[in-house]
């Protein structure tokens, strides 16, 4: 009698169990992390990184499956199985160089990428156990290479004599610069602020992404010969047309991000003590308001309310805790429920560990100030979830009569950002969408204007570091082709 399919399945399963047992794959290695009560008093990094021993143990977990879905899951297509193999062999520097073949900022991405929605989500190991900790391994390799002085500049092609202007020095711009410099093109980076890095320096806090690491990774583009122009706001100091016509650039990449903060548009929003997350984080990160010797002020009261529940909201809440030296009461106010919070699970978990409270299914309707025009209270309304809306998430509906007061002397509004208009306003032949983002060809990132490409948040609206880098890679390839044919 033929064996039933169920039997066959059972046998296969037990065989594969045996095989797994024989190899004895270790469990996913946890990230060593500083205790919450200690870390909320300073801005030093929370996650400490793998030791070589932990990294090698984790690297052994990779199944080296034939389809390597992880590579496809990565917006910049890092050869993940190859670098993990190198780590398991103890070739840590080589592992970092393998990553850098397609990723300019591995120490940054190892820290801030949402791997759980990308490479790790599709990891085959994740079907039977927890996925391989790809992000942690990436961070380990990059940190090892940097700390051991093993970082080497990539080879560059002979000079082509072509000049490219990269506008904005966030993840997208840096990626474009890195790729094009390797192809032998001359690159000038224009940055409006006084430091390179864009959102990596003004937005993401030190305790999640140390600025020293950002600077060191960005240093590569300087060492490859990029010319850096700080304090240059394109659209104001110079226009795109001037770059092309007067300054002799052969192509322009616009990676100016989404810098314009959105507000709720409710009464009292201009009271003192109501910050946009951009302002609060810029004061703390870029202007280093938390350091005694820096002059820029920032205020954190006894009761801090952060509106929104994305990564920026978590960054704001956790920064507020630290500025307040752990003495402030910090809560997140969010109109949907926990399942819909857009922040990474890891960020939510860290915020909870640190004592951030979550005031869910609650929406502010009015800010109330004192006689000095400083916010004191927020009138909120309770919400319930209805049918899914356009975003696929259940729409929050106010519950009539549930208005109530939440005490707050500092409010941080973290509702997302939109692109600013300097370039669109001064470059009439650049097409934008109704949201102010640039319209581009998806496979080349070319805009409606010849020789002008765009990528990152300025095209998608606020998204992630790695998606901006992916767009940068696509644009760089298209710019190279454009310059070669030109």
């Amino acid at each position: 009698m033929a064996t039933s399919s169920r039997d066959r399945k059972r046998r296969t399963r037990s065989r594969s169990k045996q095989r797994r047992k024989k190899v004895e794959r270790p469990p996913r290695q946890p990230m060593p992390t500083r205790p919450a009560e200690e870390r909320i008093r300073d801005f030093q990094e929370v996650a400490l990184g793998f030791t070589a021993e932990l990294a090698q143990k984790e690297a052994q977990r990779c199944l080296h499956c034939t389809n390597h879905p992880c590579i496809e899951g990565c917006p910049v297509a890092v050869d993940i199985p190859a670098f993990i193999e190198l780590i398991s062999e103890g070739e840590f520097g080589a592992a970092a160089r393998k990553i850098k073949e397609t990723n300019t900022l591995p120490a940054v991405c190892g820290r801030v990428c949402p791997q759980e929605e990308q490479c790790e989500e599709v990891c085959l190991m994740g079907k039977v156990d927890e996925p391989v900790a790809i992000g942690r391994l990436e961070r380990f390799a990059a940190d090892y290479e940097r700390e051991h002085g093993e970082a080497k500049l990539p080879e560059t092609d002979p000079a082509t004599g072509k000049k490219v202007a990269v506008v904005g020095s966030g993840p997208a711009g840096i990626t474009v610069a890195y790729e094009l410099l390797q192809k032998g093109h001359q690159v000038t980076i224009f940055e409006a602020l006084h430091e390179l890095g864009g959102v990596l320096v003004y937005g993401i806090p030190e305790f999640r992404l140390p600025k020293k690491i950002v600077h060191e990774e960005i240093e590569t583009v300087k060492n490859l010969g990029a010319e850096i122009k700080l304090n240059m706001l394109i659209g104001k100091t110079k226009t795109i047309d001037q770059l092309l016509e007067e300054d002799g650039f052969d192509a322009v990449f616009i990676g100016t991000g989404a810098g314009l903060p959105m507000f709720l548009g409710i009464p009292g929003e201009n009271l003192n003590g109501v910050y946009s997350a951009n302002e609060f984080l810029t004061r703390v990160n870029l202007m280093k308001a938390y350091k005694e010797e820096y002059v820029t002020p920032v205020k954190v009261g006894e009761k801090v309310a952060v509106i929104g529940a994305g990564n920026v909201a978590m960054d704001s809440a956790r920064s507020a805790l630290r500025v307040g030296q752990g003495k402030s009461d910090v809560s997140i106010i969010y109109r949907r429920s926990r399942e819909q919070m857009p922040a990474r699970e890891e960020e939510i978990h860290h915020a909870e560990e640190e004592g951030v409270k979550f005031n869910l299914l609650t929406n502010p309707i009015r800010f109330i100030g004192n006689e000095k025009g400083v916010v004191e209270k927020i009138e909120c309304i309770r919400m319930e979830l209805g049918e899914p809306d356009d975003s696929g998430r259940r729409r929050p509906i106010p519950i009539e009569g549930s208005e109530h007061i939440v005490e707050a002397d500092t409010v941080i509004v973290a509702l997302g950002t939109m692109p600013r208009e300097f370039i669109a306003d001064t470059t009439p032949d650049l097409e934008t969408s109704e949201w102010g983002t640039f319209n581009v060809e998806e496979d080349t990132m070319e805009t409606s204007k010849e020789g002008v490409f765009a990528g990152g948040d300025v095209v998608t609206g606020s998204a992630t570091v790695i998606k901006a880098m992916g767009a940068g890679r696509t644009a760089a390839a298209a710019i190279h082709e454009y310059l070669t044919e030109k």
């Binding site: 409006a192 602020l193 006084h194 003004y202 700080l230 304090n231 240059m232 706001l233 104001k236 100091t237 110079k238 810098g259 314009l260 903060p261 507000f263 548009g265 929003e269 201009n270 009271l271 003192n272 003590g273 910050y275 946009s276 951009n278 302002e279 810029t282 004061r283 870029l286 202007m287 280093k288 010797e293 820096y294 002059v295 820029t296 002020p297 205020k299 000095k372 025009g373 400083v374 600013r420 208009e421 300097f422």
Partner: protein, 279 residues
């Protein structure tokens, strides 16, 4: 680096600087500003561009020593470098031939007014300039403004020079005398701009003011410079700095200016202490 080329004291606490910033000098228009930073630990400070020389690649800034960062800036000497100069920022003044334009400047706001007076005159307007200060020694740019004004009136709060009183009162008297005025620009302390707005409101004369809101980046990112204009929120850095005076919520601006005063005072006390120790 942005080198300080020259420095001139205009009043005991007001200094004029020429700074090398060629790209800004070339593209700036009246009414626009820069954000500057003196050193790594310093604040980003917004300052109106008073004048520029595109050939020399310089811009002129007038700084009133009024707190920690401006004190630090006023201490800079020719040959020193500013760490950062970003600009030109904000929308330029809408310069047209309006007819008769009255430009009212108060305190260091007179410096902000200067490029506008100049441009209004060059556009063919009849320009009446009223500048005010607390006392005689704080009156600035009188000669420079005279050159571009058909009429120049000086007021001092204490009567030590010119007319005793405020610029807004002088303007009010002119209107009551029946002078034909088509357009008013008022730049100075928020209370003074509010007073001018109230003087022109009943006469329905288009009036603009330039707001010196607190800001960090100056590029529309932080929103610290929010201002209520009519029933809308605007950012002074990108939508302004000039707005219709009859729509500005001045009381909100006054409150917003006060927010960091306590921290500023602490810093200023520290400077005083250091300077006393030096002496």
């Amino acid at each position: 680096m942005y080198k300080v080329v020259s420095k001139k004291k205009l009043a005991p606490n007001i200094t004029r600087f020429s700074v090398q910033a060629p790209a800004v000098a070339e593209s700036r228009k009246p009414g626009q500003f820069v954000v500057i930073r003196a050193c790594e630990e310093g604040e980003r400070v917004p300052l109106t561009i008073v004048d520029s020389d595109p050939e020399a690649g310089t811009i002129d800034l007038i700084i009133q020593d009024a707190g920690y960062s401006t004190h630090q800036l006023c201490g800079m000497e020719p040959g020193d470098n500013l760490l950062d100069v970003l600009g030109p920022l904000g929308k330029p003044t809408e310069i047209h031939n309006y007819g008769t334009v009255v430009c009212v400047g108060g305190g260091v706001g007179t410096a902000v007014l200067y490029p506008i007076v100049k441009a209004m005159k060059e556009e063919g307007n009849e320009v009446i300039t009223i500048i005010g200060a607390r006392t005689k020694e704080l009156v600035i740019l009188e000669e420079e403004l005279k050159e571009f004004s058909d009429e120049l009136i000086v007021t001092t709060d204490d009567g030590s020079y010119g007319i005793e009183g405020f610029g807004s009162t002088v303007l009010k008297n002119m209107l009551e005398e029946g002078r034909e005025i088509d357009f008013v620009v008022a730049i100075g302390p928020t209370l003074m701009m509010k007073a001018v707005a109230e003087v022109t409101r009943p006469h329905e004369i288009k009036t603009i003011v330039s707001l010196n809101s607190i800001m960090i980046d100056g590029t529309g990112m932080c929103g610290g410079c929010r201002v209520t204009i009519g029933d809308e929120t605007k950012f002074a850095c990108v939508d302004g700095p000039e707005f219709d005076a009859h729509l500005v919520d001045f009381d909100e601006q006054i409150a917003r200016h006060q927010y960091y005063k306590d921290q500023e005072c602490k810093l200023t006390e520290e400077i005083d202490k250091l300077e006393q120790e030096k002496a």
